[in-house]
Symmetry: C2
Subunit: 205 residues, 2 copies
Amino acid sequence: MTLPIAHAPNVYLVDDDEAIRDSLSWLFQSCGITCQTYASAEDFLSAWNSERTGCVLLDIRMEGMSGPELFNLLRERGSTLPVIFLTGHGDVPMAVSALKKGAFDFVEKPCNDNELVDRVIEALKLDASQRAATSSADSVNARIAELTTRERQVMELVLAGKFNKVIADELQISMRTVEVHRANLFDKMGVKTAVELAQMLTGRR
Amino acid sequence: MTLPIAHAPNVYLVDDDEAIRDSLSWLFQSCGITCQTYASAEDFLSAWNSERTGCVLLDIRMEGMSGPELFNLLRERGSTLPVIFLTGHGDVPMAVSALKKGAFDFVEKPCNDNELVDRVIEALKLDASQRAATSSADSVNARIAELTTRERQVMELVLAGKFNKVIADELQISMRTVEVHRANLFDKMGVKTAVELAQMLTGRR
DNA sequence: CGACGTATTGGGGTTATCCACAATAGGGAA
DNA sequence: TTCCCTATTGTGGATAACCCCAATACGTCG
């Protein structure tokens, strides 16, 4: 078992069958994909934290916590890590339920090595793009968090397309004060115009 | 078979088994859901047009065109109609493939009536919300289409947060002309401020 | 040819925005 | 208590945006 590489894309293989762990682990390593293996859902959970990037290959039926249970737990904890289910004895409702809950794929063992690697690569790509999206969203949220209450209030009204005069009126403060808050929040948000602010915030919120 | 109701949400049931058509048709009608039945994919296709709202219940294995083939064809033709696959002899790869291609659900026959109705209701809701989203996007696109070339050019630069002076410079026209185009395009787009325009267009384009 | 739409520009005035300089006041941390 | 952050307001000027009135030029469609 390879040592985890921090912040590097990895495949986390969770399966209680040692033969599977060994053979798939070898498969991924031989493709240049770092792979960590876990013999149980509990083992994976104790090693997991939200910083881990990559994707999960998850057996359905295991001693202790099952694959779907682990999957649900990860989603409850806010993880968006792509999960590919692996199963030797899956049925249609199980597959449908997994995919509808957001699993990335559902593969029956034994499976074609090349296809599995392809699916893993797709999953790694998805994780990378999701993380890029979240991190840009996070930086925006961090900036919003730095605003004072007044600045946030002014921002809302600016985004509503209102004039400083109207904003001053609604907040019961002078126009000059609105101008100051406006300038400060533009500064903190890293924009120079209201249009940039709108583009930065439209969609979220 | 009930006559199609134009622009009303309907269930389109495509199955070559008359007994299924009759029983499910009765089920939906009794729940107040309009249902049209088709004995083949070809029958459905000849009746289908992109105006039809609702969802499709689609058998997998049929004489002639199969369910998945019809599904692919609909997607190719730009339909986003939610499709629920119905099958008596489905396997896991088939279910996985269907869902990953965007099927709404994949249900094995015989199925629980209440669950099926629930799934259909969810699908109808999805269709309605998708249509609402598309129609608002369409109206925006229609407005953009009404703009003259110059107006579109000016709009781009306004959305880039540039001053009229800079826009005039880049387009090699006078500031006054930019102001005119700007006012006209705001008018055509139905907005009063650049912020509203940005919110209307951010995300698309 | 004349009407219409589009693109262009100018004058001149009002309103809004942006900013620099300057100041008062209350709450919390050192 | 002093320092810092936040909120507040004022004066005054530079810049940008918004609008009314008015006009020229080009191409298309009856």
